[in-house]
């Protein structure tokens, strides 16, 4: 266990930002904190980093209580903030060098690490650029380089892909996987369920400062009754025909809009097979058919009654 959070409570006046939150992060994993904006992800991270005071609970990092003076623990933590936090007056290289130098006093070693970090995020061509000359995606990459240059054992990334183009996002996500492969334990917070699903080995879903579920993505999906969503392109479907789909086994709901029939099913085997059989039996003309497995959004929806993106 590299991080252990126990019964953490953080209040802002009457608002409870973290409500008896407990979780742990294991060495070598990518741990995802998933939740809508305002669910308490960043607050939890700031408490772990000893930036924020909290009302109750304990936090341990590398088996020791975390305090602002836990310099040994801090030396092994790298943080990529939600907002880009770099000096506007310094170039890409100078920024990475500055932050790396706060952790690594040896000049030779620092230079090597800075070179590696810049290469890792693919900013070699932009070394002499000041931040305002960089695009949003490149700026995010610089933000990451500043956080990871000193090769920390724990890397905390707080929504690192907000407002980033798809190309840069993929590069960032691939980079995180690589950091993890190289031995770093990663804590990744996001409200993008696709990202969390894509890279995290274990996920905790947060809402209103509470943990509502945690586990692997498979185990989370196994917690809910929702099965796959089946979408069929059907033309001129009459009300009677649509109602006939509702009578099929395991169908939870049916909707028809713009020649697209959508069937939400309960978790069970052979749902798609029943639907295809029904179409064939009633000789319906159809176009595309596709089936989607339940997502973390479905998990969130079932557990909280609202969409994750709300």
């Amino acid at each position: 266990m590299v991080i252990k959070v126990n019964n953490l409570v953080k209040r802002y006046g009457d608002l409870v930002a973290l409500d008896h939150l407990s979780f742990d992060v294991r060495e070598g994993e990518i741990f995802g904190l998933l939740g809508p904006n305002g669910s308490g992800k960043t607050t939890a991270i700031n408490c772990i980093l000893s930036l924020l005071s909290y009302d109750k609970g304990e936090i341990e990092v590398f088996g020791k209580p975390m305090t602002p003076e836990s310099y040994e623990a801090k030396r092994n933590i790298g943080v990529v903030m939600q907002n880009v936090a770099v000096f506007n007056e310094l170039t890409v290289r100078e920024n990475v060098d500055y932050f790396c130098g706060l952790y690594v006093p040896d000049k030779k070693e620092k230079k090597r690490l800075v070179d590696e970090a810049i290469a890792f995020v693919g900013l070699e061509k932009y070394e002499k650029f000041v931040p305002k000359k960089l695009s949003g995606g490149l700026l995010r990459r610089l933000n990451i380089a500043c956080g990871i240059a000193h090769k920390p054992k724990i890397i905390i990334l707080d929504e690192p892909t907000v407002a980033v183009d798809p190309q840069s996002r993929n590069k960032i996500l691939e980079g995180i996987k690589e950091l993890n492969k190289n031995g770093a334990t990663v804590i990744y917070t996001s409200h993008y369920m696709e990202e969390v699903e894509q890279i995290c080995s274990r996920i905790m879903i947060l809402d209103h400062g509470k943990s509502i579920a945690s586990g692997s993505k498979e185990s989370l999906k196994a917690m809910i009754d929702v099965g796959e969503k089946i979408s069929i392109e059907l033309y001129d479907l009459e009300d009677e025909q649509m109602r006939s789909f509702r009578k099929l086994p395991n169908v939870a709901s049916v909707s028809y809009e713009e020649n697209l029939l959508t069937i939400h099913s309960y978790k069970a085997a052979n749902n798609l097979e029943h639907v295809l059989e029904h179409i064939k039996t009633h000789n319906m003309a159809f176009g595309k058919i596709y089936s989607e497995k339940p997502t973390l959004n479905d998990v969130f929806l079932e557990l909280t009654g609202k969409e994750l993106r709300d």
Binding site: L51, S53, T67, P68, V86, L90, Y98, L102
Partner: protein
């Protein structure tokens, strides 16, 4: 670590173009403009000879010659009456003296110069009348009378309490140097914002690093002081060597006072940045009011403001750090005694301690209630 942080803080501060404009360029431009606009102020106080025409039938008579040589106050020109009247109407002269049986002084308007000439002419006529009377009635006493007139005793001698004559322009420049020192507050404010995790993301990132926060802050503040001292050195050199302004002969004390002023400015900014719970923009605005407003009250825009404030709201002269600094320069320039100078320095040190303690109490906080 000190060298690493210091190097990058120096780079950040010197590359901050907005700050550099206000702290370095603006005072130099302002001093140049002030110099261009005010360099004649001192000279305006010098006395100019009063232009006057003398109208006499016999231009080379003894009486005319005597009058023309009687004083340096007046610059006489011989004219005929028509010419003199025309010059008077064209305001080329303030009046003319018509020498006939009775000496007449013809003017068009009344003013200070006309009054001076009238006094002079009255005195001249009385003296001449007295001498003529003695010559007529007691010619034997003429020698002693002439002796007395030639050896007039001066009973009052003007003595200045000051060691130097103050050029009013210097009040502006002392206020300008003081204002520039106080502009160090922008640097102090920047350092305060960059060290407190609840004020900026950058500060949060720095707080996460394995370095004691107060050490980081001390390193950063020392960078701000170094920059500010360099800036004030450039300004002093510019004033003394380019604009050739004589700031007095106590150069070392002037420089040391400026260094102290720089520390005061930087600490004032750090204090504003840490103690006030408001946005960074608002804090910047407060720094501007603090430094520019303080400079105004210290006489930057109008040197009489300094005296008006001292007369009507004397407490402001002590509560305004810009005035303390400007007054310290003034005292160095004007007085042999350093009593007034040290008084200002003591108040400034008091302010530095106050600002330091206020800043320390806020910066030392290790965790924040909200970010």
């Amino acid at each position: 670590m000190y060298g690493h942080i210091l190097k990058y803080r120096l780079m950040c501060l010197t590359k901050d173009k907005d700050n550099m404009f206000w702290i370095l360029i603006f005072p130099i431009v302002l001093s140049t403009l002030l110099y261009a606009a005010l360099s004649n102020i001192g000279n305006q106080e010098l006395f100019h000879q009063i232009p006057l025409a003398l109208v006499a039938e016999e231009e080379e008579s003894e009486e005319v010659t005597r009058l023309m040589n009687a004083t340096d106050l007046v610059e006489f020109q011989m004219m005929d009456q028509t010419e003199a009247q025309a010059s008077l109407e064209n305001e080329e002269l303030i009046g003319y003296v018509l020498m006939d049986e009775e000496m007449k002084f013809v003017v068009q308007t009344k003013g200070m110069e006309q009054s001076i000439v009238r006094l002079f002419l009255n005195h001249y006529r009385q003296t001449v009348g007295t001498v003529e009377n003695i010559m007529r009635n007691h010619p034997e006493q003429m020698g002693s009378v002439v002796n007395r007139l030639e050896t007039r005793q001066v009973f009052t001698t003007p003595v200045s309490a000051a060691r130097a004559k103050l050029d009013p322009m210097l009040i502006f420049f002392f206020a300008l140097i003081a204002m520039t020192c106080m502009y160090g507050a922008y640097l102090g404010l920047r350092e305060a914002v960059d060290i407190q995790a609840n004020l900026s993301d950058l500060a949060a990132r720095i707080n996460i690093a394995p370095i004691h926060k107060m050490k980081t802050f001390f390193y950063s503040i020392s960078a701000a002081v170094i920059i500010q001292v360099l800036i004030i050195s450039v300004l002093l050199a510019y004033l003394q060597f380019v604009l050739k302004i004589n700031l007095g002969d106590r150069s070392v004390l002037i420089y040391l006072t400026s260094v102290l002023g720089s520390v005061l400015g930087v600490m004032a900014g750090a204090f504003i940045g840490t103690v006030l719970k408001t946005s960074e923009n608002m804090k910047n605005a407060i720094v501007t009011i603090f430094s520019l407003g303080g400079a105004y009250l210290a006489g930057l825009m109008n040197f009489s403001t300094k005296y008006t404030v001292a007369e009507n709201v004397p407490i402001l002269t002590v509560l305004n750090p810009v005035n303390l600094l400007a007054d310290a320069y003034y005292a160095l320039y004007m007085f042999d005694s350093l009593e007034r100078y040290w008084m200002n320095i003591m108040y400034m040190i008091g302010f530095i301690i106050l600002f330091f303690l206020g800043t320390y109490m806020n910066v030392r906080r290790r965790k924040y209630a909200s970010i």
